[in-house]
């Protein structure tokens, strides 16, 4: 336990020392890189996952294929994908592709399950009120699936924030830089410091989604929907 406190103390002094907060290897710059990588990949993953999930859930066709594909995508080793494409084409794009592949499955599966799970009576009622297919999707199915959709987005966001650390291995910076450098130099202070930053970011993501849940989920659903 003593050792643990020692570590926390060391990383705290690392986190709070002024030199860590400026320059190209400073925390703000690394954090910014990390946010850009995570944000970009999450954006594209959400685009793909939501569109496919809504389409498949709404039409009820291809559900088996979609969840199957999502499971295959989950099996793709992000680490291998990052490195193989980096060897072929050294740029940040491969890292982003790998992160998108990582983030799509939870979004897709949750969106699909959310829409499919909408009560058939509610769907019929929406139709009975004269809504078109789009209307049913936007005004009935989407709002009712929202809790699950947000859960999928949250899972993906946290995974992406944690995994974007791998971008540092082939040399693209981000918060993983500290962890990889610390590993290379046997400098635990650096490793723990970097980890603390990533975890803090992930917790921030969690709370952002807690706020989104309040804003986007209809109060009528919050009482009964599973979180």
């Amino acid at each position: 336990m003593n050792e643990l406190w020692n570590q926390i103390d060391l990383s705290w002094s690392w986190l709070t020392s002024a030199e860590q907060w400026e320059g190209a290897n400073g925390i703000p710059h690394r954090l910014w890189q990390h946010l850009i990588y995570s944000g970009t990949s999450l954006f594209f993953a959400a685009l793909i996952g939501l569109a496919l999930g809504l389409l498949v859930g709404h039409t009820g066709r291809g559900g088996f294929l979609a969840t199957g594909l999502a499971n295959v995508a989950r099996a793709i080793p992000t680490f291998g994908l990052v490195l193989v494409i980096v060897v072929i084409d050294y740029s940040i794009t491969p890292v982003l592709i790998a992160l998108v592949a990582l983030a799509v499955p939870p979004i897709l599966v949750n969106t699909y399950e959310g829409v499919r799970g909408v009560d058939a009576d509610a769907r019929d009622a929406a139709r009975g009120m004269g809504m078109t297919g789009w209307g049913v999707l936007w005004r009935a199915e989407l709002p009712m699936a929202m809790p699950l959709i947000l859960l999928g987005l949250r899972t993906s966001a946290i995974q992406v924030v944690a995994t974007a650390t791998l971008a540092a291995y082939p040399g693209f910076g981000g918060l993983g830089r500290y962890i990889i450098d610390g590993l290379a130099r046997n400098d635990y202070q650096l490793v723990v410091g970097g980890t603390v930053l990533v975890v803090a970011l992930a917790l921030l993501v969690q709370s952002v989604f807690a706020v989104l849940r309040r804003l986007l989920v209809s109060p009528g659903l919050l009482g009964t929907a599973r979180s």
């Binding site: 193989v84 946290i158 944690a162 650390t165 610390g182 635990y188 490793v191 599973r226």
Partner: protein, 215 residues
Amino acid sequence: MEIDWGWIGEHTSDLGENALLHLRLALLPVLFGLLISLPLGVLCRRFGWLYPPALTLANVLYAIPSLALFMVFIQYTGLTPSTVIIPLTLYSLSVLIPNVVDGLGSVSEPVRQAATAMGFGPLRRLVRVELPIAVPVVIAGTRVAAVSSISLVAVGQLIGQGGLGYDIVRGYQLQFPTQILAASVLIVLLALITDGLLVVLQRILTPWARARGTS
């Protein structure tokens, strides 16, 4: 990109060995995860106040990058397989605990009452009725945990724990895509086979679902 099939042919036995090691490193954590989350899930159902903190803890652990978690454990477990197995076990908990709790929650009240009326005590009701009914949801979680675990073990190579991650890192160091690609494809295959076996296991464990034609 050229794939060097000759290299693959010469290294099938190495790749196979690494694949087996990989599988062991990936699946032991899922097994341990199940051993922890089954009793914990049962406790969470019984004592409702336990669930939110257990879930939050699992979620926080999930937010720690695998690489960092490995590093933290190195100081306690050294460069051993435990340094990979313990963190991956912790990850699997974040999927398994909610699924065990939801699975047990999917047991309908009439079924529970019927079991009680048949004279089942709490323990026998749990083992003979509630857990079997929870099987599909628990296995759904196990599939996700197993597949992600198989994909994550590759990162363990950064602390020298071998498996197919070895080929990924080695291929990168040598700028030799074939080796990275071969290892990655093998990882996907291992994941798919494991996933398929879990589906089969579910069918075996829930024969009634098939009889009803709703499997």
